[in-house]
Amino acid sequence: MRKKQKIVAALMLLVALHLAILLAGFIAPYNPATQNRDFPFVPPTRFHFADARGHFHLRPFIYQWTVRPEGFNEYEEARGREYPVQFFVRGPEYTIAGLVRSDVHLFGVEGPARIFLAGSDGFGRDQFSRIMYGGQISLAAGLLATGISLFLGLLVGCISGFYGSWIDESAMRLVELFLVLPWLYLLLAVRSFLPLHISPTQTFFLLVAVIGTIGWARPARLVRGIVLSAKGRKYVTASRGFGATDSYILRRHVLPHTYGVLLTQAALLVPQYIVAEVTLSFLGLGVSEPVSSWGNLLANLQQYNVLASYWWMFAPALALVIISLGYLKVANAIHERLQSDSI
């Protein structure tokens, strides 16, 4: 029972994270591209309950950061005025999933103060908002690319396993070829062939297509194995005897066996592909400025001074780790479930 609770917790966490990232516009207090040039590399805002006079406030409040006179990029709190954290405040306009337009944000503070939950980057852009919006790119890339891989894998695996003979032979040799390819270098090579003068949206879809089409080999091989074992079962022979067509047999008797494997594969591939997107963007081959993704957020850390001076720039890595662990937990659970089912 405890195990089940853990799985449920992992699933809940994943759902919550995905929902939060889908609602990035609502949860993020600012537009991710808005630069506050007076506040580069501001550390995360601190929340206070007790003010300078020692009075306790039920509603948390913040102080605005000001630049310390002697140092560049060094800040201190301006204790002169408290800015209470407000909920459901009006701010920059956004759309959710391209459908709902709104300008209400979950939280915020009155201007001119700004709330930097995860600090700001070198242009004074709110890092938390960038992580939320960047998550949309990274997660969507992971999910869509997984979809492409599984679809291709299912298609090739089914045809190959079901029809056998030379189709199977050639498809499996192709699979082997794709399995031995070093995917990172392949991604780099493929990406570098593509045009550079393209908009961030186009880059995004190219990225998804590239990642998705490279990873179909493993699911294809797994699906083929299942199709092979399923098509040899007696009820398939029986149904063939009753005159069932190939497509009927595939749909009714063979495909349902593959769902478990596909689900496990999906749970494994999504984090892998998120990391693939992050890798490409980290290397400067993903979506370009000012659009954020977890990869190009982390790319800031390539600069030694950022790595050494501004710890909050690691925040996107935390998001990445949590999401990946969640998916792996779920993948593990599905796998165990399948194992126990088959016994």
Partner: protein, 591 residues
């Protein structure tokens, strides 16, 4: 007995090593040494510094990349040298020179009794040979252009063993400055490969050290590909301090190849290198925080002579099959469009965010630190979106309801800016400019490219719309910059390969520049150059952005360290550098 044998072997080994390891030779009779007025140092020590990349060649005539030139500069010497500190010319291998009244004939007297780093004598034949090579079109020297004055190459004649005459086709302003950094090469080693047409292959990194000789303070000792190049003292160097100690003081000079600027900073922080030049502002801020603990000093020398700029592609694309770019050139060609872009860029935030305040905003090509040549009257267009909008409106641009800028035909203004991925500062500038121009309703894409790919697009294929680049920094004098400003120049970036000036203002710049090049009087020359600067600023072929300060660091115990604005900022007086004993020794081990 056995022990004595060992000792003898040791002595022999030492004797051999001392001979090979270039102990400074005592001054010879009749040797015309140049006496420097630096603080008297102590012999010994190895100075280590890191380069971003490996030098490509040791050939002074064909080298074009900065790492090669940095190493070659320590191996070679010139006749007349620009003192990096005073920015004036001073005698080097030439003891003295005289100029004819018409400013066309230079007679140069060489120092007597000097020797190359392999011990062979240096005289007028070597000078004549060196210039023959530099001027040979088949050798393709990047410096050749400077030696062609008034369309004709400089004529070089030997008068006697120690004097040479240079004849120019027309008077040339600051003519003695062109001798700077022209390496005098050993005829006895290089004449044969040159005659065989193999000069370009004669001095590579793989050439055995014994076959390389120069007049510089150091000579090659060892090269390990991918790791480092080790230089040792030239025992015959032609400079000495006031106590007749032959320079250089240092035994060895080591250049490590570390890959990038961050790696340079890390190596310096770890104490593995002694000097760091051209620190980025961020790393300067980071490293100078722990000055106290590490025994290092950091220097902000003020704005460099370099200028960062945004350039629009105005090249003639008719033969290039680049229709989509050609269509956008209608915007770029409008002066008001470029002026609007210039007004909309917030230079102060570039200085603040990119250079963390260690830089200066620019509106022209001459840095404020170039006191002799900067035009004090040059207008500084203030950052003003309103002015930018007005300029665009008067040029027929308008705005859609969503704020997008459109031209007369209703086409949305959208273009890409290419920058080099290897330069984090320019990438940052691109993001700031993207945001600034976004406020004008321009849709700007930033495209980071590998540096070579970027150069290829800008110089060869013209397949780009706009680019952020940097130029300058060589010399304070305007003349080396002429290949940028003359319409037929090889670095006339915005419109390359022009047979004649495409616009009136470019023709005017050509005229002014040609005039100042032959004007010998500083005041008149300055007046002409000021006019040219004003025309450049008004027509905005480059949108000038900013210039970084020169930031350097060095061990506290490095004597005679005097960093300068001019390149090479820290090594220009390397022969005078020495380690002050017992004072803040380096914490790390030497590699």
């Amino acid at each position: 007995m056995h022990r004595w044998g060992c000792f003898a072997t040791l002595l022999l080994a030492c004797g051999h090593a001392c001979f090979a390891s270039s102990a400074p030779q005592p001054p010879q009779h009749g040797e015309d040494l140049l006496v420097t007025d630096n603080q008297i140092g102590r012999y010994g020590g190895t100075l280590v510094l890191a380069q971003r990349s490996e030098p490509k060649t040791l050939n002074p005539v064909t080298a074009a990349d900065a790492p090669s030139r940095e190493v070659i500069g320590r191996l070679t010497a010139d006749l007349i040298h620009i003192n990096r500190w005073t920015q004036n010319t001073e005698p080097a291998l030439a003891k003295a020179w005289s100029v004819s009244n018409d400013g066309r004939v230079f007679t140069v007297k060489l120092r007597h009794g000097l020797r190359f780093s392999d011990g062979q004598p240096f005289d007028a034949d070597d000078v004549v040979f060196s210039f023959q090579v530099y001027l040979d079109e088949n050798v393709h020297s990047p410096q050749r252009d400077l030696l062609v004055v008034g369309g004709k190459p400089i004529k070089v004649q030997k008068i006697d063993q120690y004097s040479v005459r240079f004849t120019l086709a027309q008077p040339y302003a600051a003519a003695e400055r062109i001798f700077d950094s022209l390496a005098m090469m050993p005829r006895h080693l290089l004449e044969r490969p040159y005659k065989a047409g193999q000069f370009a292959q004669a001095l590579t990194l793989n050439t055995p050290p014994a076959e390389i000789a120069g007049m510089g303070p150091f000579r090659v000792k060892q090269y390990i590909p991918g790791q480092r190049i080790v230089l040792e003292r030239n025992p015959f160097y032609w400079k000495a301090d006031r106590s007749k100690n032959r320079l250089p003081y240092l035994d060895e000079l080591v250049f490590l190849f570390v890959g990038n600027e961050d790696a340079q900073a890390i190596r310096f922080q770890a104490g593995e290198t002694d000097i760091i030049s051209r620190l980025s502002a961020e790393n300067y801020a980071l490293l100078s925080k722990d000055v106290a603990t590490r025994g290092t000093d950091f220097f902000d020398l003020g704005p460099s002579l370099e200028y960062d700029f945004l350039v629009f592609n105005l090249n003639d694309l008719r033969s290039k099959n680049l229709d989509s770019i050609a269509a956008k050139q209608a915007w770029f060609q409008a002066v008001k469009f470029r002026q609007a872009v210039s007004s909309a860029i917030d230079r102060d935030s570039i200085v603040k965010l990119v250079y963390t305040g260690h830089g200066a905003a620019l509106w022209g090509n001459v840095s404020p630190s170039n006191k002799l040549w900067t035009d004090q009257m040059l207008p500084h267009t203030p950052y003003s979106l309103d002015r930018a909008r007005e300029l665009l409106k008067s040029e027929g641009f308008s705005w859609r309801s969503d704020g997008q800028l459109i031209d007369r035909q209703g086409v949305a203004v959208e273009f890409s800016v290419i920058t080099s991925t290897s330069n984090a500062q320019r990438m940052k500038m691109a993001t700031l400019i993207q945001d600034d121009l976004g406020k004008l309703g321009m849709n700007v894409h930033v495209v980071p490219l590998e540096f070579r790919a970027l150069l290829d697009r800008v110089f060869q294929t013209y397949d780009y719309e706009a680019s952020i680049m940097a130029l300058g920094g060589g010399d304070a004098d305007p003349n080396p910059e002429m290949n940028v400003w003359l319409s037929n120049g090889g670095t006339h970036l915005w419109r390359l390969g022009e047979a004649r000036p495409a616009t009136d203002w470019e023709a005017l710049i050509d005229q002014l520049m040609q005039k100042q090049m032959v004007q010998l009087k500083y005041k008149e020359r300055k007046h002409l150059y000021d006019q040219a600067q004003e025309i450049i600023a008004a027509n905005v072929p480059f949108v000038f952005l900013a210039t970084p300060n020169i930031l350097v660091g060095a061990r506290k115990n490095l004597g005679n360290f005097k960093p300068a604005i001019l390149d090479p900022n820290t090594l220009w007086n390397v022969e005078q550098l020495y380690f002050i004993p017992g004072n803040g020794a380096r914490p790390g081990e030497k590699p």
